[in-house]
Subunit: 142 residues, 3 copies
């Protein structure tokens, strides 16, 4: 469900960094939804192709996220989420002297499939099974 | 209108595969709208930059689509569309042992231009001309 | 706030072209919001990975934009914006014989952070300071 696109300068992250970041992000969502819902794509963008305020972005990380499976149910949840992500990404962003920006879009739950299946609704038996097995499967409940 | 972004592992598809996939997708939309509305972008993402559930995505195809020209008018249309796409992509995804996920966002019709023209509404004379000529042109009707 | 993704054929633009385009775009938004809100990402897509209407897009520029900080307040503003962009990009698109398509999505203001800060609302003292200083900082007003 969440699809994270992370645009970063060339060489900003090693393969180990990227896996660690992806696992940290997956850990956040994985407490409340199947882990395999979490997609993270890293894209290196050279400074001559990446501009912030019209200037080459040599030290900038731009994160664009689509949320699909869940929408924020309250302002408190929303602000906690961003505070949490903020803290979570610190070692790879502010601690390394990068500037950053992040935005999230919420896209329609009903226009989403995994392995051709429409994912089950939050809290259903089917979702619990998907979460326990960490894979998509045909629904067994209505 | 639809803009398909297909993230796939390096070497997953030949140039011929990619054209065949793009033509199959274009065929679906092209029955009801101008073919040139259909954009398909393939992006190879190396396993060290592409994670599903925190693990390197060596055999995963992640499709993200923006629908602009049309919104689904009923649940039946919506589910048929996904079933159809499912079947359509089988030869390039499940038949090759790839896992996959796809989600669609619907973005505002009014915030969309082609060659600087705001596209005509569905079913109008102008849209019929765009479809017949397979190119954008100035409107001749209000 | 606006994040511009520009997909273009290999070699379409020099580093100088890309900076000039990014600065032109930044100039448009920078009159009414902090310049550092404007992100522009160029991505070269080879013709064997980029299809319009099922055919390789050898001369096509596809622009996908997320608007976050502002929504269009009237039809007039909306059409003027697109007319203006049209004219602005002419030297790099139609004047060079490229075809093009552009669409904008509007994503939630509340799901957006810069340097970990939720940006201030339009017209506030904090926004004026961010604009004057051209950088994000903690809010000093409620």
């Amino acid at each position: 469900m969440p699809l994270w696109n992370i645009y970063h300068p060339p060489g900003a992250y090693s393969a180990e960094d990227k896996q660690a970041i992806a696992q940290a992000i997956t850990g956040v969502y994985g407490r409340v939804m199947p882990k395999f819902y979490v997609g993270v794509v890293f894209q290196e963008i050279a400074p001559d192709s990446f501009f912030i305020g019209g200037e080459p972005a040599t030290r900038f990380v731009r994160i664009s996220v689509d949320h699909i499976a869940r929408t924020f149910q309250s302002d408190e949840r929303r602000t906690s989420f961003f505070k949490f992500i903020n803290k979570l990404l610190e070692p790879w962003i502010s601690d390394r002297g990068f500037d950053w920006e992040m935005h999230v879009d919420e896209t329609p739950f009903d226009l989403w499939t995994i392995q051709g299946h429409f994912p089950p609704r939050e809290g259903t038996e089917d979702e619990k099974r998907w979460m326990a097995e960490n894979r998509a499967s045909a629904r067994t409940h209505a």
